[in-house]
């Protein structure tokens, strides 16, 4: 049970999760597969020693985003999908082809560089302090403005989401502001 095995297992979990999420007709199943994907990715983050990111991944994606998507699904269409309908959109074959093309285009530089990066080994991080603490210090010290902007963005997104989702009533009010 070493690192490599863990990597393959987690990779398989994430890939299968993502595939199921993307291909499943039943949306709720799809969302749960998506959550499996998120969890697998969190595992990969742990494997890369980014434990805080792993927690945040679970907290934000599995905890918040998943629920949000579930709510959206419950508020919109038939959950299990209409059986008479196609799952895929028109000409999805070409979509798959293009996705494959993108894949190749991304892969090409990676493969070309493999001899270069193959020997890159991760540094042994001997961090005296906890990395979470380090991260927090970093967030306050050089990135405080980013954090503030991010907070502003989240607030704006919150208001925007509420306004957009509220629909009718909000826009009636909005017309008077000019």
């Amino acid at each position: 049970m070493n690192e490599v095995t863990a990597f393959w297992i987690l990779a398989a979990i994430s890939v299968i999760g993502a595939l199921v999420a993307v291909r499943k007709r039943n949306l709720v199943h799809g969302v749960f597969a998506l959550l499996v994907f998120f969890a697998g990715l969190a595992g990969l983050f742990l494997l890369l020693l980014a434990e805080f990111i792993a927690v945040v991944q679970i907290l934000v994606y599995a905890g918040a985003v998943g629920i949000l998507i579930l709510f959206a699904i419950m508020l919109t269409d038939r959950v299990t999908g209409k059986d008479a309908f196609r799952v895929t959109s028109r000409g999805s074959f070409w979509g798959a082809i293009i996705a494959l093309a993108v894949f190749l285009v991304i892969l090409l530089p990676t493969i070309r560089e493999i001899p270069l990066i193959e020997n890159a080994t991760p540094k042994d991080m001997i961090v005296e302090q906890s990395s979470v603490k380090e991260l927090g210090t970093k967030l306050i010290e050089p990135y405080i403005v980013t954090i503030e902007v991010l907070a502003l963005l989240l607030t704006a997104a919150l208001i925007g989401a509420v306004t957009a989702a509220q629909g009718g009533r909000a826009s009636e009010k909005g017309e008077n502001t000019e």
Partner: protein, 389 residues
Amino acid sequence: MNWELIGDILLATVPLLVIFPSMFALTTWVERKALARIQNRIGPNKVGVPLTPYGGNLSLFGLGQPAADGIKMLFKENIVPTGADRLFHLLAPILSLIPAMLVLCFLPLEFPWLNGEQNSVKAFMLDGAVIFFFAITGLNTLAVFMAGWASRNKYSLLGGMRAIAQMVSYEIPLVLSAVVVVMIVGSLNAAEIAEAQAGWNWYVFQPWGLAAFVIFFIAALAETNRSPFDLPEAESEIIAGYFTEYSGFKFALFFLGEYIAMFAISGLAVTLFLGAGGGPGVEALPWLKVIWFLAKVCILIGVMIWLRGTLPRLRVDQLMGFAWKFLLPLSILNIFIAGFAWHAKKANEGTAVSVIVWVAALIILYAAAKGLDHVNRAKVKPRTYQYGE
């Protein structure tokens, strides 16, 4: 294979898997007994230890009830409604139990049989234990949704959606009140938080700590769907909420998950505010720490039961309003006050100023709570009757 490590992990985790489920069994009995007594009933008092297979029975105040319940649950038929999503119907109780069990690992229980280096469950003593705790408890919401949706029953779905809305709303004051302690200690590590409260420096004795503890406890009640916030399983409105279509062993798992979650969150409250394992005599006898910890957890559970016997259920709008209009502003204010108070106290260690700050913080918090309460109530007009009089 590192057998030593595996041995340590087993030594640390197996007790958790023994202690808490057995505490669960006991708690079901205590709860039934206590609720009955509160309502002037007797409660379960028949089932005991059967002395012979043909009769003759030692009743022991009905202490055999949990075992009997368990056996009954185990042997009940597994009913899955027609049209339900079989897979998710099965997965939901499991998914509800796993996070609850998992987060127990983050509690700073210092078992005496682990040597000093691997004090408590060191294998799981991650730097971000507290945030891990919240992240993983958040998964419980998904289990609830899964159960509600998979049952293919409108009551179940309604219960599930109610539960999600409630859990998501109350998670915010829960986390924000925990933030206060994290901020003061300067660490997310549960062991360090416990360390910081050694002696009698429990944070509940600080005004901000008291406020945070009360907020935390209320939010914890809502988070675990306990009365008076048990709307998701409000019998009089939606049968049993997301439990409606569950019976037998699956129901037992749900039940177990819910109670373990209660223990876990009480454990976190004890860790954050009630000095973890601290108590009289721990310096001399370190193993007392576990006892004290569990005792405090039990007291909190007792209060939960007591509250369940006392308070009526809230209305949905009251529930949401309470979270967003009362707890949230108060917990945000509390963060600021904690910061100020801590700095003021640090600057004037041991002087009269620190006492004044203590009193002032208490007064401000109380006034703020009172004011929020007043503001929230101002909008509620006395009910008028159209055809009454």
